[in-house]
Each structure stands twice: as C-alpha cells, then as structure tokens.
Assembly symmetry: C2
Homo-oligomer: 220 residues x 2
C-alpha cells in the first residue's frame, strides 16, 4: 500500500468517511487507467451538466475529446471550472440491516480547468493516448485521422493536480447486535465482462479477430 | 419503438448527433431502472462536483440518499440546479478509421432541482425504492432503519421532468472508401456480470445464499 499524502486542497478532500480517501498517485492512476468511461461535469448558464465520455491518461494529464460542435467541448475548453469523475463498480455489499448496505467501488474525482490542445502533432498524440486507453494496439492498425477529421475534433487536457480517490472494499460492517439476525450477509462481486465479438456485416471472412479484442481486459 | 416526443427544454435536447436523442419515458425509465449507479452533478462555490451514488426510480421521481453530513446532500437539498446522469456501457465499436471508433451506450441526463423528503414514512418508502432498485427482495429480509439511522440519512427526490436519453447501438459506420481496408471491424459487447457471492466471515453456515443474490440480474 503506498503512503497516503495530504489532499491537494480542502475542497477535493474526501469529507464523508475520510478513511476511504486516498491522495497518492498510484491509487488515483490505477483507477483512471482501469475505467473505460468517465463523467465530466461543467456549467452552462449556472446549470450543471454531467456527460459520459471516454478518456485516457498520460503522465499527469487526462485527455478527452469530442466534436468541435459539442456543448461539453465548447463549454470546458474555455478553461471554466470542471470536474472529471471515474467510477469502478466492484460489487454489492449486503449487511444485516438496511442502513449498513453499501457498494464496493473505486472512484476518482479531479477538479480543475481543461486546456485545449491545438498543435496538430500534440493533438494526434493525445488522441492516440485515448485510443490506447480504450483498446491498446488498435491505433497502429487503423487509418489515422486526416486533416478534416482532426479539425473537427477538440482535444482537451485536464491536469491531475487536485484529485482524490475514494475506495470501499471488503465485507459489510454490521452493528454488533445485528450479527445474530438470521439473514444472509456478504458481498456480490460484479465485473464487466466481454461477450463474443460481433464482426461487421461488411467484413471479409478472411480477416480474423485480433488478439487485442479476443483477449480484451481492462488493466487491473 | 415508442414515439419520440419533443424535448422538454432546449437545454436538455441532445445537441450532438440528435438522431441518438430520445425523450419518451419508456426509453428513459428503462435506462434508469437498469443502471445501478448514477452520477450527480452540483456546484459548491461555482465549482462543479460529480459524485457517484445509488438511486431508485418511482413513477416520475428519482430518489437518492446519503448522510446528512455529506457535501452532496447538503448542497443539493437546498434546491440548487443539479444534474443526474445514468450511463450503461454496452460495448466498444471498432471502425476501420480511428475517427469512426465509438462506444455503444445508453445514458439518461436529468436536469432539475431536488427536494428533501422529511416526513418519516415517506422517507422509509423512498429508501425502500432505492433498496428495491439495487437488490429487489432485500428490504423485506433485513432490519429496517431505526429512528437514529433515519435521522442521520437525507433522502432527496428529483422529478423526471427535464430529461433526455442518448443511445448508440449497432455496428461501426465507416467512410465508404475505408471498407476496403484490411482491418477487423465490429463490436465488442461488454456486460456487467456477477461473480460467486462471498459470504461474510461471521455468517453461520446454515444460512444459504438467497435466490435474489444467486440469480441476480439487472432488468433489461
């Protein structure tokens, strides 16, 4: 277990159940790297929006992308305050009382402002980071973005500077007097699992499923 | 396929790829009912926060809960603008070009303000809705919340009035000239699957795994 440093700010500190809060980069990075999608929060006219999107981490930055025309991209590329949250659901926690039921999960919250990546080579590199995050190995096989596609895409970088992880693991914690109740208690783990790949209808039969799809797994 | 009504407001309308936007309640409700967690977005001092939480739907309302002391609950029970987003990840979509890669997903965005449920009987009923959403059948077997637990819990109701669903399904859509590229294309479905339940260490061996855990499935 890595040492748990102090939070970067009061506002990013885990308030409820602070023992579940972690601020070390190995814990934060492992959650970001395993999560496939994140949820980005931002304001338009003081109304919060929360939108799911794919992303990728490279060093101290998280990249995400979208159409130049998307509301999310137009809002956050101005450098307004935003929040990026990645959540891994690990299972249900069944206690003897309704109150002590819980969820095993690992989540990361990053607060900050995103900067747009405009230089074309840096933009392509960031898109490769996102692609490698979702499907390692895929980028090198497919047609890379052309000029028009690149121009139509906004790529944003959010620094991992003000971030926290929150983690719950393990069995239920019941009140002592409830352990005698005749009710099943424990954990029901849940994991995302791939199903058999579905080839595109126009794919020639000679093109087999690549190894990175046949053996697809999130890093853990 | 149910008819697709107009969005309740301009701000909740799906802007990017509007053909993926749905505003009918059967589509919205089915996504809400299948999702185990949602992400709640709210502002504290103009900084957006996005926090994962469990929830449950009853009719035209979504209930969620937390500690009276939680930042999320303290912020949103004042009736400030919030956003609740539920996302189901259905799989990866592999195109012949990097640009046309996508994700199959179903998501719901609800904008509005939450009201706190204070009347104890209504509060217990809403907690049962959340419990039934996560594990149908569980509530009736466990010790119900006592006075102190109920007082320590905030329960909020968000109306499903300004809501939209966004859905992507099916194969990749490539540029016509890219179909000739010798690269695998198609879908990789991903589904959350339960793993064998883990009994609590203090559970008597005489108490077997209940059917609602042995046969646990999200509604679909």
């Amino acid at each position: 277990m890595p040492e748990n440093p102090a939070p970067a700010s009061a506002r990013v500190a885990v308030k409820r159940l602070p023992a579940r809060g972690f601020y070390d980069r190995p814990t934060i990075d492992a959650i970001l790297d395993e999560a496939l999608v994140c949820h980005v929060g931002f304001n338009v006219d003081s109304q919060p929006f929360v939108i799911p999107t794919i992303f990728g981490r490279h060093g101290d930055q998280v990249f995400f992308h979208g159409s130049q025309a998307s509301r999310m991209l137009r809002a956050v590329r101005g450098g307004i305050p935003m929040c990026l949250t990645a959540t891994l659901l690990d299972g249900l926690v069944l206690a003897r009382s309704a109150f002590h039921h819980s969820i095993n999960y690992r989540s990361v919250v990053i607060l900050g402002a995103a900067a747009e990546i405009v230089e074309p080579e840096a933009k392509v590199a960031a898109l490769k980071v996102i692609s490698d995050h979702v499907i390692p190995g895929r980028w090198d096989e497919v047609r890379p973005p052309n000029k028009q596609e690149l121009a139509a895409t906004s790529v944003l970088a959010l620094p991992i500077a003000e971030a926290s992880a929150k983690v719950r693991t393990g069995p239920p914690k019941d009140d002592e007097e409830d352990y005698a109740l005749p009710v099943w208690a424990g954990e029901l783990p849940i994991e995302p699992e791939t199903q058999p790949p579905i080839p595109d209808a126009r794919l020639p039969q000679s093109i087999g499923v690549p190894g990175y799809i046949a053996n697809y797994r999130r890093p853990r």
